[in-house]
Structures are given as C-alpha cells and as structure tokens.
C-alpha cells in the first residue's frame, strides 16, 4: 500500500519537474496521483477520502483561474502533495509519519502564499511564514512531550504538552486569540492560494492533533480540555463578531475561518468520554469539509469578481448551518456530542454563535452575487454547492464511516 503512495509522490515530483515547460501537464498527473493515494484506504472510509479528493481537485482547478504563477506547474504539485498527505494522515498509525505529514502539509503553503498574478507578495508571505514556523515548532514540541509523557506519566507535563499542542494548532489554523496573521494574509494575498490555505490545509493539523490527543488521553484530560474549550470559545466569538464589521471579503472569510476553527477546537473536549468520540470526530471532519468547500467556492468567486447568486447563497447558508445542508449536520454532530459529555452550555453558545454569523455570511453572499457565467469559478462553485447538498441524505453514513475508522484514530504509543 505504501508503495502506491511512494509512486504517487514520485509522479507528483515528476510532474512538477515537467511543468518547467508546460504548466498544465502537472494537473492531470496530480489528479492521477491523488487517486492513487486514495487507494490506500483500501475501501475503508471512502466517505472521507472521497471528499478530500474532490476538494483537492477543486483546489487544483482553482489554480487554473490564476493567469500566471511564479511557480507555474509546481503549484499543482504542491496541492497534490497536500491532498495526498490529507488522505494519508487518517490511515497512518505511526507517530513519526504523523508528524512528518503535518510538516508536509505545512511547508507547501509557505511557497503558495507568495504566489501572485504579478510580482510575488513577499511582505505578506513573510508574515505568514513567521507564524507558521512558530506554530509548527510549538505543535511538534507539544506532540512529542505528550507522546513521551504517555509512558512516564506526569500530570504537569501532560497539561503543558496539551497546551503547547493546542496553542500550536490554534496558531497554525488561525484560531483566536492567535488568529492575528489570518485577516491580513487572507485579505492581502492572492485569493487562490488563500483558498488553499483556508481549505484543505486546515484538515491535517486538526486530524493530527486529534490523533495525538486521543492516543494520550489521561485522567487529566478533563481539566486540560478547559484550554481547548477556552480557545474554542474565544475563537468562535472573536471570529463571528470580528467578521460583522469587516468590509473586505477576504477579511470576513478570515474571521469566518477563525470562528469555524473555534467550533472545531471546542469539540476537543469530547475526548473526556470516548463513547461519543466518533460523533464528535464526524462533526469535526464534516465541519472541516464544509469550511474547505465553502472557502474554495467563495475565494474563487472573489478572484473572478463575483459568482452565481444561487451558489453564493447556498454556500453562505451552509456556513450558517441551515438544514439539511452539510453545515447544519457538522454543527449538529458537534453540538450533540458536546451535550452528551455534559457541555450543554457550550453547545448552546455554539448555536448562538451561528446566529451572530448570519449577517456577515449573508452580506458576503450578497456582495459576491452575480450572474451565471460559464467559468472555472462557477464550476468550482457548483461542485462546492453539491458537496453541501450531499447531506440531503442524512449523513448517518458518514458517522458509521467514522466509527469504522476509529481504529486508525486510536493508535498505541505503548511500544515507544
């Protein structure tokens, strides 16, 4: 199985190299590579893999909207690499591989953020990279402390590790109060690279954090989780309220990401009761998918100067969490699992937050509203909208998929 991955990686590298001459050649090669990597699932948890592949392809396509790129062709390869890592991460149980994957996802975005239609955007790139490096360091240190500490347990160290990991994660995905880089980057960088940073690149850090935290649960998880709850809450409120008065669409979406990450991080508290973990994980993953699909659709529309009215409203409503769109189910699952572990008040704040978000999502939808034109952006929008509509069939299928997948999520650090 791993062989497939290696071949795929080689293909991507090859494609990127070839793109030196013909930019477009990497695109089909990247898609092929992605599909190859997706074979790693061996038929398990196709629900997730499928979504990731579709989202990665959307990201690839969106790059096509850019007139030119400083790293022409290689950008496809980088996205394919992130996509592959995103698929792979779920199925690996090896700590080293997990951390590697994390870095593999993080680093390509450093390059992507510079990409622009004309001259590379160095100033904003440096801002991004600075914080990403810091985030990666904190995250990896936290992960290592937790793993090491698991066998020689010390409460203080556990909590320190947990905190470092969560802080790293927050910084990486742009959760408040460490979101400070996000609005600037989202609004000043080119929308297409941002759409990649804001969508598929958010999945791996969260999954990695989840895996490590699940593997290292201890009796102190309950108190350590307060850190996650605190950051989650601050993030939701900061994101949603911050977005209310922002005018630039990029900024609004940055705050929206912050809010979404808040929902996700607050769901980490479900770790205290493994019985409800599958539902929480399903909620987190769905929320990530919603965030990814919606952001791609909207940033593409920003890049093209507007999208089809219907699509934009549909995406906005899904973000708001309107049934039966996917954004509803993700919040439903998170809320349900929170209530299950006794955090009804948190669930309540979560749904109230979705109310605060109504005005700005609708405003974004209105600002982006335009006519139906046959363009790449519209196609991406349609696919994104279809993803939101998949849950017309109540996604109990996704939950059962996660349940089967939980064996991969809980790996044993005992041997180390």
């Amino acid at each position: 199985m791993e062989l497939m991955v290696i071949i795929a990686l080689l293909l991507i590298t090859l494609g990127s190299a070839l793109s030196f001459r013909v930019r477009w050649i990497t695109l089909p090669i990247s898609v092929i590579a992605l599909i190859m990597v997706s074979q790693i699932s061996g038929g398990k948890f196709l629900e997730y893999t499928g979504f990731v592949v579709v989202i990665a392809i959307l990201n690839l396509l969106s790059l096509g909207i850019m007139k030119k790129s400083q790293i022409k062709g290689v950008d496809f390869g980088l996205v394919a690499l992130i996509g592959s890592a995103t698929i792979y991460i779920v199925f690996t149980k090896d700590l080293a591989m997990i951390l590697t994957t994390f870095v593999v996802v993080s680093v390509p975005t450093y390059m992507l953020v510079f990409v622009n239609d004309d001259i590379p955007n160095v100033k904003i790139g440096i801002k991004y990279v600075t914080f990403m490096v810091l985030a990666t360091i904190l995250f990896v240190i936290g992960a290592l402390i937790l793993s090491y500490n698991h066998n020689n347990f010390n409460g203080t160290v556990y909590i320190l590790g947990y905190t470092l990991l969560i802080v790293g994660l927050a910084l990486e995905v742009g959760a408040a109060p460490l979101h400070i880089w996000a609005p600037d980057v989202f609004s000043n960088a080119d929308p297409i690279p941002v759409s990649i940073i804001a969508s598929i690149a958010k999945i791996v850090p969260v999954v990695v954090a989840l895996k490590i935290l699940i593997a290292t649960t201890s009796p102190l998880t309950a108190s350590a989780s307060m850190i996650a709850v605190g950051i989650g809450l601050i993030s939701m409120f900061t994101g949603n309220i911050g977005a209310l008065t922002s005018r630039e669409l990029g900024r609004v979406l940055a705050y929206s990401s912050t809010a979404n990450m808040g929902y996700i991080i607050s769901a980490f508290v479900v770790l205290i009761n493994p019985a409800f973990l599958p539902l929480a994980v399903a909620g987190i993953l769905l929320q990530l998918i919603v965030n990814a699909a919606g952001k791609i659709g909207m940033f593409s529309a920003i890049k093209e100067g507007g999208g089809a009215t219907h699509l934009m409203y549909l995406l906005a409503l899904s973000f708001i969490g309107l049934p039966p769109l996917m954004g509803f189910w993700s919040k439903l699952f998170i809320a349900v699992s929170l209530i299950n572990v006794g955090y009804t008040w948190l669930a309540l704040l979560l749904v109230l937050n979705s109310t605060i978000s109504v005005p700005y999502y609708l405003r974004v939808a209105r600002d982006l509203s335009g006519n139906w034109v046959l363009s790449l952006g519209t196609i991406i929008g349609v696919v994104a909208a279809l993803i939101m509509l998949v849950t017309l069939l109540p996604p109990s299928w996704f939950v059962s998929g996660v349940e089967k997948m939980m064996e991969f999520m809980t790996f044993n650090l005992g041997g180390m």
Binding site: F328, A335, V336, I339, T344, L348, L352, T355
Partner: protein
C-alpha cells in the same frame, strides 16, 4: 385511507414548486392553487374518516431515531388550515405580486418564476412540518420555511427590506437554534427523536424548547421582531407568515406537551401570567399603530398570547389552542390580504392616518376585513370555540380565581375592542375623496372563501368533525 396515497398527495405542492416556474404566471398560479387545494380536500376527507396513521421512511441511528410522518387529527387540523390558506393566498399572489414586481421595475414573468418556487417551498414545508414524526425532521421543515420566507422578504419586501429580512432571519434562527439544542437533549435522554418513542422531556430540554418557541411565537420581549418582519414582507408572504408560521411554534409546544407535560404544569402560573401579559401588552400596542400591517402584526402577538394561555390550562386549553390557531389563521390571512388590497389599490397606502371611509371605495375589501376581525374576536366564527374551551380550561384548572378570570376575559374584550376600533378608523367615517379603484377579483374573492369556511366551522357538520377529532387525540375527559 392509504397512507402512501395521503402522503403522495402532500408531496404535490413540492412537485408543483418545480413545475410552476416552467409555466407562465397565470398557469403557475392555477397550478399552485390546485396543488394546495387537493391536499386540503384530502385532509378534510381524512379528518372526516378520522384516519390516523404513520409512514416510516428512514431509520437513523441513535439519537435520531425513526424518520416518519404521521397524521392524527391535530396534524390534520393544522394541516388543513395551512393547505387552505396557502391555496387562497396562492390565488391572491398573482395580482398582488404582479403589482409588486411592476412597482419594483422587475420583469414580471422572470420574477414570478422565483416567487412561485419559493412560495411553494415555503407553504409546503409548513404543511409537512405538522406531519413530521421526528423532531429533527420537524426542525428541518421549520428551517426550510424560514429560509424560503426569508428570501421572499429579502427580495420583494418593503422598506429597508434587506435589513428586515436579516432581522427576521436572526430572530427566528435564535428560536430555531434554542429549540434545536432542546430537541437534541431530548434525543439523548431518550435515545430517539421520533415523537412516538420519546418517553420524557427533561428540564433543560423543555426550557430550551420553550424559550425558543417563545421567541418564535412570539411572547412579550422577543415580540419586537414580528412587527418589522410582518409589516415589511410582501403581503402574500405576510399572509402566510403571520397566520401560519408563527403559530406553528404553538404546534411544537403542543406536541412536546403531549409527550411530557410536566414543565407546563410545574410552571403553570408564571407561564399563564406571561401569556396574559403578552396578550394585553400587544393588545394595547395595537391602538397606537399608524401602519396597518404593523397593527396587524401586533394583533398577531396578542393572539399568540391566547395560544400560550391555552397551553397552560389543561386539556380543554389545548383544544382552545388548536382552534385558536385555526381561527387566527383564517382571520389574520384575510386581514393581511385586505391590507394588501389597500396597498395594491392605493399605491402602497399603509398609513392609517391617511385612511378613513375606505368602505366607500373598496366595499368588498372592507367587508372582508370585517369577517377577518370577527375571526380575531371570535364573533360568529370558529374562534368562538377557541375562547370557549380556553375559558372552560381556566375553570377546570384554576377554579374561580377572580384575577385570572378577569385577566383572560379582559384579553378577549381587548381584542374585540381593537378590532372594531381599527375597522372604524380605516373603513368608516367620512370618505376622503379618493378614487374608486378597479379591484382584481383575485384580490377579494379568496378572502371570502376563507371567511365563509371560518363561519361554516361553527356549524355542523364541520364543527362536529373537527372538535370530535381533536378531542379524541387529546383524550380529554369530557363529561
């Protein structure tokens, strides 16, 4: 009656929602009308036959439970009203929205397509809501109706319509969100959300659902959103929003009550007092309104107080609640359509101070308004039973408590007062020298259809069937 056939018929409005936009506005209107009148006839037929049944179409894991739809006479009582009003408002929509599109300089044919689609979804989701057998399903229909009505206000409303639409969305979203969490808590306590399987409703769940539905109903305090939304919505939407949508909050509370009534029983007095306060407060607010549609919106708040009163006074109160919903729906849909008639005839006239003596020019609309206000006051219309059962409930539950009797009686008096006061101010008095407009027959005939039915409901056989059916479902102990 075959359940498949029954629910197949209920699907017609949704199907019409997709076919309607393909037709020209006139035909789409006819289709829309037919798509609701067929369910109406079917529901009445089911009510006569007292056929109760359920139909499961999905079994989801815990805590969601069975997704099914079912019909009993409460569903049918609500469903019947929804179908009837939707059918009549569909007819009314054609001339009105044509006028509105022209006023907004929009392409009538093109906009009517969107309108029909949204209208069908809006009305049909409310129809399905009352047949939902699972709380999540119910919530989904609640939200569909919210979005479609939101879009209708957003696109075709009056005044600062975008702001109002947003306001409407946020308030009802808060209501929906609270209720939703409440539903989930129910789901965990019972490991199912299927109405038939839920055994008990805990404190948190009840509280959340109650507060959520109070926001939607609305009670005093949150009521402030309603005048905005109902006044600025395009009138056919107001004519569904106010009569049907908000009252469905009462339906939800009724359903939860029927599952586990302890919450209402435990907090009976404060809820009752709050309901009275809402009714009286909103009743007095009516007198100061200068905008006809806002006035009607406040009257809705007052009438919703009745429903809340009904909820607190035992089995007969529940019957009062159901009938109050029916009666208010009939009356308020007529009244909003009269407001629309005036708007369409006099270029957006809504200011009460500029009205007066309108009976001279638009007698058909004026007479319809009379029937509408009769419904609100429970005079010679089905509302009479509503008031009767609520009053009986009060005696059953509280005995001869002078203050409570006085309060409820005063509420009823007040609604009669503002009804006739408003009639006097708008339609009677010295005419103000306006011209006599030519009224499209679709702007008044549907009003009379509703009016006649509302009166027919106090006489046999309709009254017999309806009340008998509700009684059986509520299991009232009737001497």
């Amino acid at each position: 009656m075959n359940p498949f056939l029954f629910f197949g018929i209920l699907l017609i409005p949704f199907i019409a929602g997709f076919i309607g936009p393909l037709l020209n506005p006139k035909r789409a209107t006819v289709l829309s009308f037919i798509s609701f009148i067929i369910p109406f006839v079917t529901i009445v037929y089911a009510l006569i036959g007292q056929s109760f049944f359920g139909l499961r179409f999905a079994r989801l894991p815990e805590p969601l439970g069975d997704f099914y739809i079912f019909s009993d006479s409460i569903s049918s009582a609500f469903g019947m009203v929804v179908a009837l009003i939707s059918a009549m408002v569909a007819l009314y929509s054609y001339p009105y929205m044509k006028h509105r599109f022209e006023e907004m300089n929009l392409n009538v044919k093109k906009e009517f397509r969107k309108y029909v689609f949204l209208y069908q979804f809006y009305a049909a989701s409310m129809l399905w809501l009352v047949y939902s057998g699972n709380l999540i399903l119910l919530f989904i229909f609640l939200e569909i109706s919210l979005v479609s009505s939101f879009l209708l206000i957003f696109m075709y409303g009056y005044g600062n319509r975008r702001w109002v639409a947003m306001l409407y969305f946020i308030w009802t979203h808060v209501a929906g969100a609270l209720t939703f969490v409440g539903f989930l808590v129910i789901g965990f306590e019972n490991s199912t959300l299927a109405i038939k399987d839920i055994a008990s409703v805990g404190y948190i769940a009840w509280l959340l659902i109650f507060i959520g539905m109070i926001v939607k109903l609305p009670g005093l305090g949150p009521h402030i959103w309603l005048p905005w939304a109902h006044a600025e919505a395009p009138t056919p939407v107001s004519a569904l929003l106010s009569p049907l949508t908000v009252g469905l909050a009462g339906y939800v509370l009724l359903r939860i009550y029927l599952i586990d009534s302890w919450f209402i029983e435990a907090y009976r007095i404060p809820i009752f007092a709050y309901a009275i306060l809402t009714s009286v407060y909103a009743g007095f607010s009516v007198f100061r309104q200068t905008d006809y549609k806002r006035l009607l919106a406040y009257s809705t708040v007052s009438q919703m107080g009745y429903m809340l009163i009904g909820l607190t006074v035992g089995t007969f109160g529940l019957m009062g609640l159901v009938i109050q919903y029916i009666s208010h729906a009939f009356g308020k849909s007529i009244l909003f359509m009269t407001a629309g008639g005036i708007i369409a005839s006099y270029h957006g006239l809504r200011d009460l101070q500029k009205m007066g003596g309108l009976h001279e020019y638009i007698p058909t609309i004026s007479n319809a308004a009379l029937v509408g206000f009769m419904n609100l006051g429970g005079i010679l219309t089905v509302g009479m039973f509503g008031e009767f059962f609520i009053l009986k409930g009060i005696v059953d539950v509280f005995g001869f408590n002078l203050w409570m009797i006085f309060a409820v009686v005063f509420v009823f008096i007040l609604s009669g007062w503002y009804s006739f006061y408003t009639l006097k101010n708008i339609f009677y008095g010295t005419p103000k020298g306006m011209e006599r407009p030519k009224i499209n027959r679709l702007l008044d005939t549907p009003l009379y259809a509703i009016g006649i039915i509302s009166i027919a409901f106090i006489f046999p056989p309709l009254a017999t069937i309806l009340l008998q059916g509700i009684k059986i479902v509520l299991g009232g102990v009737v001497p």
